[in-house]
Amino acid sequence: VLLRNTTAKTAKINLSFHWRNAVKDGRASIPEITLAPFESHRVDVQALQNFGAIPLDAFWAQVTMTTDTLPNEVMAVAASYDAKLRYGAQTPFSDQLIAHLEGGQWQVDANHTSLIAAGNGGTKEVQAALTFFYDQGRKQYRLEKTISADDQWWVDIGQLIRSQIPDKNGNTLPPDLTSGAYRLQEVSETHQDLLYEGKVITDKTYGHATYGCMVCCGYPQDSGGPFILANPTGVAVADSTYADVYGVNGCTGNADWVGGYFPTWWSSDNSILTADDFQITGVALGSTYANASASAMPSGDGEDSPDGCPFVPAQSTGTANVVPIVTNFHQTIGRDQGNGVLGFEYHWNSSSGNLADLSQCSVREVVTYPGSGDYAWSSPPYATHSETNPTILATAATGGVGNDVHSPGSGFTSTYVSNSFTATQKYQFSCTNYNSGTWNDLVTGISIVRTVSQNADSSWKYTITKSGVSASINPLP
């Protein structure tokens, strides 16, 4: 391990080794090193092994360097060469941790194998996933593992292929597979940013080892993120809704959830709404902005980043509207309108107190009949009649009144048989500027029961009942 103090002051260095041999792993550290200004220093790992600080059969180690300097003031490189200095490999140290990295090509064949080491550089455990892509990205092989703090996950891809080790979904890599790409990600979406990674492709023929590093996948500001969802957010007075933050991933181009980076939320006008911890609450009708900020979020653009994964402060702002919605929906009239027709009148209000404010809102009825498909009324006793199932009828909400009638369909046949069926009705409202325009229940579970039955004198009658109100034709002609 080669160390170089690039400053005009002394630097204190602590090196620790998390080593691995074929059967176990362990930790070792060496006495503190003090580097004079601009001094270069070599730590001979072979000597440490000969000395017994690290087992002789250890063939891999994660080396952690801690200094009393600023980042990049002390530079470190790990290098390994044969006795003639002809064959060897070098790898730089990285001082950045991140939640998502994308790797380049790995290679496995008779002469090559690829070793991937994923490490947890944090102080708490992390659930990580390694996904290998092959067949031109059409197929995936995914492994998951919990990596303890300061621990590593060591994967020999050649071993996975040769031993046909199944992944978490039970899939195996094809025996003739020779190359592909890979991705390392934290599985949990808590954005702990604890992972680092290294890959070595070894060549048995020539003794060559190629070092490869994944690229940081962050959310660069110029690729459309971070942004608040939903934007605009619609919320009613005294009602709350959740907002969230997404970012466009610099590697995949996908919109990823990045809310975990944004702990701080605030409203641009607390008299209209409040914003706190992903929650927006309406105070009064109006429009303002909901804001969220991150002290540091990854901005890696998917390009190779020799200086490590960049983290930058970020802020996200979205429009939030406190909008009127339909309230106080209630029945005012329910009556027998004659000829077996039931009539109802419903009234509703605007949460703003002004019905004209409901211009973006609709009210609808949904009547669901038994079974699937359009409902054909039983004939006899009914004349041929079919209803779309469910029957959905919507109207503008600004009137504040809706009339609903329930008739005996298309009438009756001349012969009667007993029959009864129940349709289930509900009323809902939707405002295009509220809750993404979804339909919200006003009243549900209303039964509309239609019955044809015989009287004691052998005549027949039709009765319809809803909400305790009935209409009938008795006797049927």
């Binding site: 609808r364 009825e365 779309t388 469910p390 959905i392 919507a394 600004t398 609903d404 325009g437």
Partner: protein, 270 residues
């Protein structure tokens, strides 16, 4: 003594209101939404009502039940009809202030589908208001020229209705435009309908029923998608629409497609 005083106060007011209702006519205008359309587009008109005094009258359920239309088509057939009234409606009482104009767009497709090219003359009469005089504008009937079917023009008309739906400033405008779009029972409407579905525009049910009427392979594909959406009512409605297509079509291929769209999604294993 108290009763006598009350009579003196109430009677003059009642007479005054009644006199105003009888004496002042409401000017009735009917303007084609588009003077020239192509076969397959709905006939649509805008009703304009004006008065010089304060009047209250009833247009009937959904503001249309008391409108009786007369349509003279190019075949010489005369249709006199009111629009069908759905079960769930808003009441049609209107209060017209002096100088105010009441405007309402009306889709006449439920009365007549203008499939035959030629001139259509649309007249209107407002019924059910015995105490109100309606004076019909001299420009009524409104003339609408229907050109022969042109798929490209029909497609453009669908796109324009789609744009109107997206930029509508109110739900009533949006519902009106959706009603017109749903009246175009032609395959060229499918891409516009697909674009509008499941966008929280409160018009999905109307459009899904329209897809059932179009009933081609593209419509089935859109219904397959809406049959797996998050709104359980629209899922049921989409499945009903697919069953309707399946039961009505004589095309074995379409029946098979509808059948496949109704099957539950299969889990994929690799």
């Amino acid at each position: 003594m108290k009763h006598t005083l009350l009579l003196f106060i109430v009677l003059p007011i009642a007479f005054a209101y009644s006199a105003a209702q009888v004496a002042t006519p409401i000017q009735v205008g009917l303007v084609p939404k588009e003077k020239v359309i192509v076969a397959g587009q709905p006939l649509a008109v805008t009703l304009e009502l004006k008065s010089s005094s304060l009047l209250r009258f009833d247009l009937g359920a959904n503001h249309t039940a008391n409108l009786r239309f007369t349509i003279n088509g190019p075949t010489g057939r005369k249709i006199e009809s009111q629009l069908p009234t759905p079960d769930f409606t808003v009441p049609g009482m209107i209060t017209l202030s002096p100088g105010m104009t009441y405007l309402q767009t009306i889709n006449l497709a439920p009365i007549l589908k203008a499939e035959v090219p030629g001139l259509y003359q649309v007249g209107v009469e407002i019924v059910g208001n015995p105490n109100v005089i309606f004076k019909v504008d001299s420009e009524i009937p409104a003339n609408i020229l229907v050109n022969p079917k042109d798929s490209e023009q029909l497609r453009l008309a669908c796109e324009e209705l789609g744009r109107r739906i997206e930029v509508a400033s109110s739900s009533s405008d949006r519902l009106e435009a959706a009603s017109e779009l749903a009246s175009i029972r032609d395959p060229v409407a499918v891409p516009t309908i697909q674009k509008l579905l499941r966008h929280g525009l409160s018009i999905d049910s109307e459009l899904i029923n329209s897809l059932a009427e179009i009933g081609n392979a593209d419509a089935i594909e859109v219904l397959r998608s809406s049959a797996t959406g998050p709104d359980p009512d629209l899922v049921l409605l989409s499945r009903s629409a697919l069953l309707r297509i399946k039961s009505r079509t004589s095309d074995e291929g379409l029946r098979k497609l509808a059948d496949e769209a109704l099957q539950p999604k299969q889990a994929t294993t690799r």
